[in-house]
Assembly symmetry: C2
Homo-oligomer: 338 residues x 2
DNA sequence: AAAAACAGCGCAAACGTTTGATTAATTTTG
DNA sequence: CAAAATTAATCAAACGTTTGCGCTGTTTTT
């Protein structure tokens, strides 16, 4: 029953013309007469002709496909980002293939390899937590496959990237808390190996010193981002000689653990919490953070995709300019509870 | 700088043998001698040979790619499901391409077309809310592209699908509420056009009548699933002559709106709410639903992917058997507060 | 009326890989 | 020792499409 798909050759045979004419006819090439063109198009339609993409891609050496490698699709941030990427890609008639590194360096290396074999026209990457070497991306250069990093980016400038400035976002957050009158502000930071932790800490310090306050290192504690780790950190604050009245949490998950713990101890009202947005509904919580750093995943995905498509279409990239795009993140203040 | 990728032809030229021998050598074909084989492999490695996938796919007429069409990637359920799909696909060395219908029928039709042009080996689909005709999938048959529907499935049996039995899940939910002593139970259902709404209603009715209670149609109200719609529905319950003491919400979003509204009216403690799980952190809410119907998105994605891969590998599908897989959904009871 | 321009189409190569059929050289067998 | 079997490699076609070039016949320009 499954008839082999119609090909250009077949149309040519039936019409007693050459395949090249059929191809040109279908593409409205000027050198094909109007009558022949119409005959071709009609027959094509009536035979349900569908161009064989694989053949075209092979022939052109382009795939009209962009690859996306990210740590975890099930994380809200990434699901929004890739949703934006797909939306942009489809506008330009590109297809998206993706794969998850599950925050594993080896897996990431494999995936880059696989994407290269698939001959994607370009690659969008949010690097895994494990990743500290970046050779696997260099190979892509020699194949002329552009790469744009987003959100989780390598710590150097000579790559294309889109990211949020967590540093300036943190400054905003701490400033906000200072303006609310807080004088002792704790920060639950991530592991010190993470670049994102560094940025947060730098932002914290800048805001503190800019406001002519003394920076107390013991108010910034590193944490493995688990529930237990969060509780440990919380305990350090509770026992601190200058017990903080506000806390900047590494992300919404940490904030969630923190709120849960503080509620249990019945001290939740002693603290203002600021967090970095991951979870869409955290503001529905009863004792939700007073403010959130919004990182605009949709926008980041959108920009990264557009930059990549630009790079793909730019003639030949001997222009040694790198797109370093910073998406300004905003502090979203939750409307105050009555 | 970007050297053209090495090809089999080139290796053949350098080694003064034929391309076919190189191909066979690389694939450990028995008819190539051990010495030649090694020479081939060594040279291939030293030249960084990478098979040109596009060429292979074209040649074989297979793409080792499965397509996924779903309504909204940013919905938690789907992001988990596709995450599972990718995990399964990569195990079998398949690649995943995906696209979002944004719950739009026309878009869905286009995407099916596009996937077909891409010659995906198989298709996984969760249909859009808009979709009531299904011709666009029939075409795929003649191209021998198997389709497996998941979660949002067409309302007939002669297709492959994986889904949850919302009916039995609803029975469990209502039974649970009845056992807790509730005698008047409201249901905020979705639009009546949705199959999912029908299932919920059927389950509700079955549980009610099985327990020898009288079914009151006015306790099941349809809703457009927006916040306003939810409030309307809530008001109907509040003004009901037999004011319900428990409510089954269509999903977590509805539950969220409901909780927010009831809190505002300060009547939240008058109701037990049961919902269908969409949001991972809803149980962190202060007045969270007492129970949730878990629909196991990861499992559904996993099963759907495996069925599809089975179908792809099954010789020729003249076996008129359809996979109709039901993933039992469970009622997850939230641990009682304090 | 010759030269130039052009319209409309076909030829053939090319993209990189795989694979059935074939050949040539070597070894085994009765 | 001739015939058969085995081994090792080659040939050539094929997958479907695109595209530079060339060819013919007609129309326009000088």
């Amino acid at each position: 029953m499954q008839s082999k798909p119609t090909t250009i050759k077949e149309i040519a045979r039936i019409l007693n013309i050459s395949p090249s004419s059929v191809s040109r006819g279908l593409h409205d090439h000027p050198s094909i007469g109007a009558v022949t063109r119409e005959k071709i198009k009609q027959l094509a339609k009536s035979l349900n002709y569908e161009p064989n993409n694989a053949a075209i891609l092979f022939q052109k050496g382009k795939t009209y496909t962009i690859g996306v490698i990210l740590p975890e699709l099930s994380e809200h941030f990434f699901s929004i980002a890739i949703s934006a990427i797909e939306d942009e890609a489809i506008k330009k008639n590109y297809t998206v293939i993706f794969a998850q590194s599950h925050d594993n360096y080896d897996q990431e290396v494999k995936l880059v390899e696989k994407m290269k074999n698939q001959r994607v026209d370009g690659l969008l990457v949010s690097i895994s937590k494990d990743t500290s070497k970046f050779d696997h991306f260099e190979k892509l250069n020699s194949f002329n496959i552009p790469v744009v990093f987003f959100d989780r980016i390598p710590p150097f400038k000579n790559v294309h990237y889109v990211a949020c400035s967590l540093e300036s976002a943190t400054i905003k957050a701490v400033n906000y808390l200072l303006k609310k009158g807080h004088r002792s502000i704790g920060m639950i930071n991530g592991p010190s190996t993470l670049y994102a932790s560094e940025e947060r800490k730098d932002g914290y310090m800048q805001a503190i010193t800019f406001n002519r306050l003394k920076f107390d290192p013991s108010l910034v504690v590193n944490c493995d981002l688990t529930e237990e780790g969060t509780i440990d950190a919380a305990n350090q604050f509770l026992n601190h000689k200058r017990k903080p009245t506000a806390i900047v949490a590494f992300n919404d998950y940490v904030a969630l653990f923190l709120i849960k713990y503080f509620k249990k101890l019945n001290v939740i009202n002693d603290f203002d919490i600021v967090s970095y947005a991951n979870l869409p509904i955290i503001s529905y919580l009863d004792n939700s953070p007073v403010a959130s750093v919004e990182q605009y995943p949709y926008l980041q995905g959108q920009k990264a995709a557009n930059i990549l498509l630009d790079l793909i279409h730019s003639p030949n990239s001997e222009n040694q300019a790198y797109y370093n795009t910073i998406v300004e993140s905003d502090l979203i203040v939750n409307e105050v509870k009555e």
